[in-house]
């Protein structure tokens, strides 16, 4: 009896939903889909950096935005792609002249710093969305919410703690950029068709090991619509993996092997180059 009632009811209810959709002509919300050229990056002895391709499409696009985008470049879809590495604690140190020698003085330790961070956009961030939203989504080098944990000041400096933190935070980003670990590519996201996008992001030779995350963000008319993410695993393989893991899990054994290798090399040399 119960089952019968449900069946009967659903016959009545289902058309109501269908009609509602048809009458209001409500378009489903635009969303974003993504894909990666690699989900695993393997570091072998010949690893010298590589590129990763992040691509995707806009689902249920608003035809108005898509067509206008091609004509005017205003009121359009924007895509931001972010590739960030595992979180780290980083200490930024500043050299100061002490007794004529440049030695490390003040330092600030930051928590939750992505080991690497690369992002690409279709346009400059300020044209894509409000500064508040971009900051909330932590897009862009200035908007990463790195937290100063410990501040070691040097006595006799006139700097306030806030000044110190700001200067050190800027230096953190600059040094990461110098090491190719932070990267920005404004305008790097290309639309292959009105809804298909692609971007190539660099993976530097010194890419940090661990789990990286690729995120794509969809904006339209200055508003955030949707986001997706995929994990990328960066790991050493083969000999590199074995060596690294052994060194960090069993340093004693690693050291003994290192000594044995050295002794063997020394012995081999004395046999090969023996004078008599």
């Amino acid at each position: 009896m119960k089952r019968f009632l449900i069946v009967v009811l659903s016959f009545f209810i289902a058309p109501i939903f269908m009609m509602k959709g048809a009458v209001a002509q409500e378009r489903p919300k635009s969303s974003i889909q993504m894909g990666l050229s690699d989900e695993v990056i393997e570091i072998s002895s010949s690893f010298d950096g590589t590129d990763i391709i992040v691509f995707g499409s806009i689902e249920n696009p608003d035809p108005m935005l898509v067509s206008e985008q091609q004509m005017l470049g205003q009121g359009r879809y924007d895509v931001v792609v972010v590739l960030s590495g595992p979180m780290q604690e980083v200490t930024v140190r500043r050299k100061e002249k002490i007794l004529g020698i440049w030695a490390n003085g003040a330092s600030v330790k930051f928590g939750d710093v992505p080991a690497s961070y690369a992002y690409a956009t279709t346009r400059p961030l300020f044209e894509i969305a409000e500064a508040v939203d971009v900051k909330l989504l932590q897009i862009g080098l200035e908007n990463l919410s790195v937290v100063p944990r410990e501040v070691e000041e040097v006595e006799g400096t006139a700097e306030t703690a806030e000044d110190l933190q700001r200067v050190f935070r800027e230096s953190l980003a600059r040094l990461k950029i110098d090491k190719d670990l932070f990267e920005e590519n404004i305008g790097g996201v290309q639309f292959l068709s009105p809804t298909l996008f692609k971007v190539e992001l660099p993976i530097p030779a010194n890419v940090p090991i661990g789990e990286h995350t690729a995120r794509v963000f969809l904006f339209a008319d200055g508003k955030f619509l949707d986001a997706q993410f995929e994990k990328i695993s960066v790991r050493k393989i083969g000999f590199e993996q074995f060596t690294y893991n052994l060194a960090h899990s069993n340093g004693l054994l690693y050291g003994i092997i290192a000594v044995l290798v050295a002794m063997f090399t020394g012995w081999a040399a004395s046999v090969i180059f023996r004078k008599d």
């Binding site: 570091i43 072998s44 002895s45 010949s46 690893f47 010298d48 950096g49 780290q88 604690e89 980083v90 200490t91 930024v92 140190r93 500043r94 050299k95 100061e96 002249k97 004529g100 020698i101 440049w102 030695a103 490390n104 330092s107 330790k109 050190f168 230096s171 953190l172 600059r174 040094l175 990461k176 110098d178 090491k179 030779a205 010194n206 090991i209 050493k236 000999f239 590199e240 060596t243 690294y244 060194a247 960090h248 340093g251 004693l252 690693y254 050291g255 003994i256 092997i257 290192a258 000594v259 290798v261 050295a262 002794m263 090399t265 020394g266 012995w267 040399a269 004395s270 180059f273």
Partner: protein, 329 residues
């Protein structure tokens, strides 16, 4: 003031030219960087050549070179200890076959050396945490290279002058008793024909052990003169015995650094070792063709040049004042 950094310019040029070849870039698993294998091999062979020519360990030249090549100083120092194991092992083997090692004296030096290495590795860890390791390594190098280079130059210039006047004249060791002979805990060392307190031997061994772990050197440049002039060890067993001690102390340091700081890069060490042992063979041959005093003067100048470069980096305002230090690495 402008000092052209020729080594850096040369390195960059060599890297630029050779990095086009296949199999040239190799990833170092511990230093976590991609390096040019030919440059490292060349550095190993070059320093090996000098060490073969002059009969020195070469660690005090290799470690600064690695630092100039942007290898993190912590990795450079610990890895260099590993390389010295290889070079001192083949040397110690040769001396052992010839019977020019005083094992008993070597063991006492070694006990001091291991104690020193333990202390040194602990200091190394603490300095690293405080962010002052690179600075202390540089200062130690400037002090040691500066004083040893100066002494070598003065001594060899005097020797060259003297040999021009009377080539046969050899300065005898002063025979007067010094304070060392009055210390307690005396032990008889049959091979060296010495009856000597173990205290100065242990202290010397310990000093060398500390240097091995903080500076990545064998310490022969301190141990050999100290053994000759302070302990009065006969010159025929000095080199063999010091190599015996250096080999075991650097082996111990390698293991201790691996276990505590994870800074020994076997791949880097192996490239340097192979380059080093090959270079040393050619160096030894070249060394027989040059006069001793001239060799020492030349080495003294090389040592002073490396010292000047490191010293310049300390006092010259760096282009980048800030540096990153990954916590827990």
């Amino acid at each position: 003031m402008f000092l052209p950094q020729w080594d850096a310019i040369f390195l960059r040029l060599a890297v630029r030219l050779s990095s086009r070849l296949p199999f040239v870039n190799i990833y170092l698993p511990i230093a976590e960087m991609s390096v040019n294998i030919l440059v490292l091999f060349g550095m190993g062979a070059g320093v090996g050549f000098l060490s073969g020519m002059f009969g020195v360990g070469g660690g005090f030249l290799m470690t600064p070179l690695l630092i100039f090549y942007n290898i993190p100083p912590a990795v450079a120092v610990a890895t260099e200890a590993n390389q010295i194991v290889a070079s001192s092992f083949s040397g110690a083997l040769a001396h052992f076959r010839r019977g020019t090692v005083d094992i008993k004296l070597g063991v006492v030096l070694l006990i001091g050396g291991i104690a020193g290495s333990v202390i040194g590795v602990a200091i190394f860890s603490e300095l690293r945490k405080a962010g002052q390791l690179d600075l202390i390594i540089s200062i130690l190098y400037v002090v040691f290279l500066g004083s040893i280079g100066t002494l070598m130059c003065i001594e060899s210039i005097n020797a060259i002058r003297k040999s021009r006047r009377s080539p046969e004249e050899v300065a005898p060791l002063p025979e007067q008793k010094n304070w060392i002979t009055n210390l307690p805990f005396k032990v008889r060392f049959e091979k060296s024909q010495l009856y000597l307190s173990v205290i100065p031997i242990l202290v010397l061994g310990m000093l060398v052990g500390i240097l091995a772990s903080i500076m990545g050197v064998g310490g022969g440049f301190i141990m050999v003169p100290a053994m000759i002039y302070l302990l009065r060890v006969p010159t025929n067993v000095v080199i063999g015995t010091s190599l015996f001690q250096i080999m075991f102390v650097t082996a111990f340091t390698t293991i201790a650094q691996s276990a505590t700081n994870q800074t020994v890069d076997v791949v880097l060490a192996f490239i340097l070792m192979v380059g080093g042992v090959i270079g040393a063979q050619f160096g030894a041959r070249a060394g027989t063709k040059l006069k001793g005093e001239q060799l020492r003067a030349l080495l003294g100048l090389i040592v002073l040049a490396v010292c000047a470069r490191l010293g310049w980096d300390l006092v010259n305002m760096p282009t980048e004042l800030f540096s990153l230090d990954l916590g827990g690495h």
